[in-house]
Amino acid sequence: MKLSFILFALPWLLRMKAWRYKEFSKRLKERNITVQMKVADDSKGRFYTFKDGRIVSTNGMHPSPDVCISFKSEAIAVALLMPPIDYQVQIDAIKNFNLIAKGPDELVTWFSETVMMSQTIGWEFGTSVESGETRYVNNTNGGPVFVYVKDGKIVRITPIEFQADDGETWTVKARGKEFSPPRKTTISPHGLASKSMVYSKDRNLYPMKRVDFDPNGDRNCQNRGVSEYERISWDEALDIVTSEIKRMNRQYGPGAIYAARSSHHTWGNVGYYISAYQKFINIIGATTTLLNPDSWEGWYWGAMHHYGHSMRNGAAEIYGQVEDCLQEAEMIVYWSSDPEVTNGVYGSFEGTVRRQWAKELGIEMVHIDPFLNETAAFMGGKWLAPRPTTSPALAQALTYVWIKEDLYDKDYVEKRTTGFDKWSAYIMGKDEDGVSKTPEWAEAETGVPAREIRALARKWASKKTYLSAGGMGTTLGGACRSATGAQWARSMICLMAMQGLGKPGINFGGLQFGSPIDYNFYFPGYAEGGFNGDGQNSANGVSLYQRMPHLISMNPTQQSIPRLKLPEAIMEGKAEGYPIDIRSIEGQFFPVKYPSPGHSPAKMMYKYGSSYIGTQPDSNRYVKMYRTDDLEFVVSQSIWNEGEVKFADVILPACTNFERWDIGEWANPGGYGHDWVGQLNHRVIGMQHKCIEPLGESKPDYQIFQCILTRLGHSAYFTQGHREIDWVKRMFDASDLPKGISWKKFCTKGYYVVPAEKEALRQPTSYKWFADGEKKNVQEPHPLPGAYGEDFLEGLQTQSGKIEFESQSLKRFAQDPERPPLNKYIPSWEGIHTSDLFEKYPLQLVSPHARYSFHTKGDGKDSSINDIKDHRVNIDGYFYWLVRISVTDANVREIKENDLVKLYNDRGAVICAARLTERLMPGVIHCRQASAVYDPLGDPGKSADRGGCVNLLTSKRMQTKKVHSAAYNSCLIEIEKWDGTDAIQSVKGSAEELIPAE
């Protein structure tokens, strides 16, 4: 009876919605089909005939319905169809074949989506404001925003100012003062400039095909990067891509399709790369990219061997440090740390006000960086400028002074660390090495005067000191991305182990992390995988999978290509790397070989997102790779026509996240970035309204994947009958949001501010437990229970449970002579000691992350970022990338301000605009990385580039032998005034010959 009623009522529901909402009426007119719904044994059923928007409902069985949805029993049918839908029950029914949908994939999906749409059709979004504008909300990589829209066009994008009834703000009491952050969000430049990127002339607005690419004839792969494009229809584009996917599987078997993505080009839990893209890749089955821990490098490969934290890629605990630092610390040492540029990660300028408080409180600052960076310029204090790659030597000399002058915490070293005797012997020159690591020794290496090293060592030991190593406090930092990257990160741990890490005022951090916010309010981070159902390659299984039941997915192709060796893998057919496996410290020791046993080499590339050429080392290699027949087909799904998109055979135009539905929390990756929201002053969870229609014929990534999968018969599995807005609602329901805001209000208002944590419930300070010899009490689910050596929550993840000056994990591994168990100083394999090369290329290049753009996001594409004087320089109508050169080095080369100069070595040449500065010591060149523009002046891959891709110059060599890591900041170059030609250089020789082979 009940089922009969439900089946009878369903068409009435649809008719009512069609009567009320034009859009739904239009939807019903899209297909003329018959849908049968029934109990599997045909005991009960009803079929619906959709014709020109009308629905005829008939009791009984249709002989040949287009779509047939059958339930194992009437009870199951009722349970599944009776609102509200219980998705756990629904998923169980699908997995156990109690619910079966038959018929063409596309029609099954259409019907499911239509039923879902009947539930969502009346929702209202956005807030009407003055002047006929509607205010929506969206998220960017650099903060949540209000988006004002009028007549279908974005008028403005601003940070969010809170209202009185938004969640309250915290206050920190320190040294008789009270500090509370402003009640608004901050925004990074690349977020604030979003509108200029949405309406960029470089948008891909239509599917395109390279004119001389014929999938059935001559492919002319050698012309990639040179040939023009012609507009084609979506159907043609999708047909080509789909038939190539099928051909790969047919002709070569598993592995032939290679999927490559970038991170960070959009935001949102549904449409972001770990969600829709990953599920798509899992479904088609593809060779994936074995990532290197690109921003972490030395922390992952080095630091974790002394103190654990594998599940943070080697980064430290990040709790409670804002209060402790403001209340207790007397000095902060920023070492290769420029949070005013790198903004934590996604954290916009949230830490800025806290650093201003530190300044107000008179906390002293020291900045150690080859460049007087923006944080140093902002905060003031002492600047020490070690030569690039030599920071580990500086750290060892500090250690020397501490030991020699008895300036360290002996009790802590004895109780909380192991291996100090051996470390001390090495530092003092009392082991087989025989060299005392004196300040004078370090001065010769680093260029920092010995007297200043002594002064810093004494000051550090006499004051309660925070160490901000890298932009996040631990992790990141240019020093971790060089040949000595692991050594530097390791030395940071060893330093803090001597000064009592976790004691009041002694900790890691530069006020970027550890805000007293509510960490327990659940909203999934993007690394929880959205709806990807992938428990292996995302943190989907941690919380989201249970809270938002959805179908699981796995990639059947067990092959991956180490990202840094992609060109070699494609062109030479083999490559080896090491994984990011954060389960354990030892996860990184397993070599990954390409190709996998029994797998085809990659023949087709599915590129999603922005550029490798701007971000990967020695990137002329990538250019050369694209121009070989080894890649038979390259499809690029991209928002903008930038970087290497111009090397694709077919371009699929994606839209920005302002043109599609999504939901997300600012600065919340989850997973590897557990509790990174701690860098925020307020947690803000945002509806990502579809503010405008996709421009041109561009589509949301989700829908592009769906279109391809429809042609392969997988769309129902991909979408589960959900459109993006349905997943947004599911994500809302799966989180703690319903406890704080109604769905209706969330749809209109668009954001929710999580109220600050009660003072009594704030997180304890990181490592206090460790310093006090107690059980771990910070609320992070790391390390895994089995990684505790003895009792649960006792000690660190290391074998000893203590900070190990002599790393037991590296001792056990014993295969990487460049990573010995004691963190010995081994000079960079490209630097001042590689004398032949240094003679030819006497300038050390550092290429840290860009300030105004985020990787390639924000740069190029005609955005207003280009007009920022410290980003690019407009010379004769062309926006050149900026290179900083010391006045001394410039004078020697007769280079003047704004001269066009050529940076070059044997790997390539880049034309930049010169900025003369005193913020660098002579011998060091500063040129930020991640240009989105690759603009070769002659033959691509073999000529100078004037787009600013400084990574054409950096080495492909791994930091050490048994890792998969880039060493961008171990790079020697020469600079000269540009002669206007496309020549890389006139000097003969090859860097590859001069640099000893790996």
Partner: protein, 279 residues
């Protein structure tokens, strides 16, 4: 009547460029009838951030100064305009009428601050209008202030008398007061940009090892008169600021109870790091 003013704290500006980008976002591609017409996509800096890197490595500091239309009370552009193309609103904001000002390039030339930009395509002088169109709709502050991450920009709506008092109390300055234009944009800590320092590092050999000398007394004098004094810090560094650029020769006398005094002569052009001074 309450009027708008802007206070820029140079010490707090760290060149995020959010003010510049806010203006770009608000005016590029947007027409605000009666207030302004769209800003060109490239080339205009209605908020123009000036930079001054002072000193020599390793003693260097950097100051950034956002400049923009000063909304002068005695604005040369108003005088230069024909046809009442530039108006002064009762709330203090100066607006270049986007229709009446067409073709009037002399408005650009009249501004002593270079804050008016010439829109070639539209044949029109343009400047930042303090987001008057938004304030008129009830916005509490203009967008550059809203988006500034450091609090370096503050918009203030007060009576002129109160503003004058505040300027005196807080030591606020305006750019080029000698022009007599009576700007409504005030600067705090402008000396970090406009003035110079003399700095150095005091060292000595102690027990055969070179050390930084803390608490050395540094006396700066000019033609026998004391100009300033300070003490060296733990790195031996000292810095005496607020000197006029190009102000000629100074004597730096450095003394310490354990050492005999040293005197160094400096001829000051721009900020100067004299390097190490060894006892």
């Amino acid at each position: 009547m309450k009027k708008w003013n802007l206070i820029v704290d140079v010490e707090k500006c760290h060149n995020s460029n959010n003010c510049f980008l806010s203006v770009a976002d608000e005016y590029m591609g947007n027409e605000h009838p009666g207030y302004s017409t769209a800003m060109p996509k490239h080339g205009h800096h209605w908020i123009n951030i000036l930079r001054n890197e002072r000193g020599q490595a390793p003693m260097v500091d950097v100051a950034y100064v956002p400049t923009m239309c000063n909304h002068c009370d005695d604005a040369p552009c108003i005088k230069a305009a024909e046809n009442d193309a530039v108006i002064k609103r009762p709330d203090g904001i100066v607006i270049i009428d986007p229709e009446k000002a067409v073709g009037q390039k002399q408005i650009v030339d009249a501004c002593p601050y270079g804050a008016v930009w010439w829109n070639e395509e539209k044949d029109l002088p343009q400047a930042w209008i303090f987001d008057a169109h938004l304030l008129d709709r009830g916005w509490k502050e203009p967008r550059p202030v809203q988006a500034c991450p450091t609090g370096a920009l503050k918009s203030v709506l007060i009576e002129d008398d109160s503003m004058q008092k505040r300027a005196e109390d807080e030591g606020l300055e305006v750019l080029h007061p000698e022009q007599g234009t009576k700007p409504r944009v005030y600067y705090k800590n402008l000396n970090l940009y406009s003035k110079c320092f003399i700095g150095g590092s005091v060292i000595a050999d102690i027990d055969g090892v070179e050390e930084c000398i803390e608490k050395a007394f540094v006396l700066l004098s000019k033609e026998g008169s004391k100009i300033g004094e300070t003490w060296s810090d733990a790195f031996g560094d000292f810095k005496i600021d607020d000197l006029e650029p190009g102000s000629g020769s100074y004597e730096v006398e450095i003394s310490h109870p354990d050492h005999s005094s040293k005197t160094v002569s400096v001829s000051l052009g721009e900020s100067t790091y004299i390097g190490t001074v060894k006892f």
